[in-house]
Amino acid sequence: MAEMNMLHAINSALRIAMEKDSTMTVFGEDVGHFGGVFRATSGLQDTFGRARCFNTPLTEQGIAGFANGLASNGMTVVAEIQFADYIFPAFDQIVNESAKFRYRSGNEFNVGGLTFRTPYGGGIAGGHYHSQSPEAYFTGTPGLKVVVPRNAYQAKGLLLASIRDPNPVVFFEPKRLYRASVGEVPEGDYEIELGKAEVLQQGKDITLLGWGAQMEILEKAAEMAAAEGISCEVIDLRTLSPWDVDTVAESVKKTGRLLINHEAPLTGGFAGEIAATIQEECFLYLESPIARVCGLDTPYPLIHEKEYMPDALKTFEAIKACVAF
């Protein structure tokens, strides 16, 4: 084990995957010699050469299409989109091509070896083009897996699993934790199974569900609630598509209450999908309406970022309201 921040953990995962799979390439804007604007790909070009780790021209549409082409011919591909806010020029290639390659061709062709990595989320004073959480646009697309790690350990294990998963994966990295999240991470190879949620904390009064950078918000809110005698069960979804309905439903059947937290706007956010499903699965067990603590239905603002964020205080208030319902 070693102390690593999330960027080191991601770098370590990429390095291990490239060592073990000679068909793997890593590319994107500034990822070559510079190592990416956040340095996630530092040193990979030095080790594996410019043919396997390289800068692309500045075109997200081109990066995604090129990645599809490589993967469709059997290569393992990790393509970086510099910020998730800039994934939209690549949207057509990802949602219409990556996601449907296998289905539309009767599996004559597929792009299973493809992973898109991209930093997402706010809390870094980035204004609305460096802060968005666009995961729900992708969870609405059959054929893609969507993964969001919450710390360094997860980032490495989930990224290795994503790279080796035989389906295209969009891997959202919580950029505000890149350097802030430091923890014990095995130096060797390991994977964390996709599609499985993790119960971080057992509780009996309410289930708190989230992913990525919001997990520390939920843990903090759970602490505040505990001080008032409320026992929270805290679950990290980790994979949003396909998501682990069983773990969440089992927890809600026990606690009788569910609160979902995400940074993306409330309307059309992934919390809505979870709430509908859990309502079906757990209708007779629910003791209060399922609560959503999310971003506002506005673009992500700069100066009002603190007000916009679904923070621990707002979550704490919502927990109390659920329990008192």
Partner: protein, 392 residues
Amino acid sequence: MSNATTNSETVHRVAFLDRESLAIPVLKILQADGTTFEQAVLPQIDEALANRIHDACVFTRVLDERMLGAQRQGRISFYMTCTGEEAAIVGSVAALDDNDIILAQYREHAALRYRGFSTEQFMNQMFSNEKDLGKGRQMPIHYGCAALNYQTISSPLGTQIPQATGVGYSLKLKGQRNVAVCYFGEGAASEGDFHAGLNMAAVLKSPVIFFCRNNGYAISTPTEEQFAGNGIASRGVGYGMHTIRVDGNDMLAVLAATQQARAYAVENNAPVLIEAMTYRLGAHSSSDDPSGYRSKEEEAKWREHDPVKRFKLWLINKGWMTEAEDVALYEKYREEVLAAVKVAEKVPAPLLEEIIEDVYDKPTPLLQKQLDALKEHVKKYPQSYPKTSGRL
């Protein structure tokens, strides 16, 4: 015959073209010592215009120096400089009519200054205070001003390029004798939007000046990893567009090229591409350290081509300015910028209500409900939301 590409001569043995097949000259007028080339045809310029150009350059250089310092001190969160590219930006904007509509990328604040954006307005935007025209929604340097025909900057690269084609076409439909002017870097020219925008402008005959600042780097990526063709100018020709390449550090060359480009665009309702060969002397942004990808020697070499200094020497040679006046101008702006910082950082943030404004023309019932809940929450925990709680 409908295929316009068939007007070629025929040959009878295989002969490919490559990047060198298209020889593209570089327009240069001003020499390093401030004199002009002997054969050079000068742009239309008088003392007043020359001084207005110089003034915008000096202001911008001072602003860059001071605001980078302010970012280092944590007073603003982010900054991007124009340093090294002043001639490309001011030389081009100075050739325009004030009613020509500018769609910039993010490094063209010198053009906004030239148009008359005040020091106070720059500061209000960078400090995201309640006087910011953009209402504190975007990061520092994302300026915009309808009164000055300068559309607000959007971070995603290249999106303004096809938009400029639409703006130009609207000017044509309205019968205005004006153009849209679209700035972008050679990196942004790799985006799909670049192809879409230029192709549509050429086919639909939209009066747009596409102005590429070819400054050598897109963050850390040098031009040789950005494109393999003959720069960006070759593409203008490929799209069937009037095209010119200029020395982007030569104020007079940029001014001359843009004056003629504008006249052509207005007269013919057609686009023009200008590729200005320049160099980004500063970092990509305050979040970046260029020592990780380029040498000090390379930067030093380009400092010898400093566009502001070269133009200043020309002004002095013309007898339109003295060295002492130049020094005094820098001093004046240093004081002005510092004073403006002190004022702007004390102006309060926009009111909490602003958070739901401008999502639509008026807030929807759901947004209003979200604001009401947020206000109650902020009132309950005022110390946790200090920017807005004091003025609920």
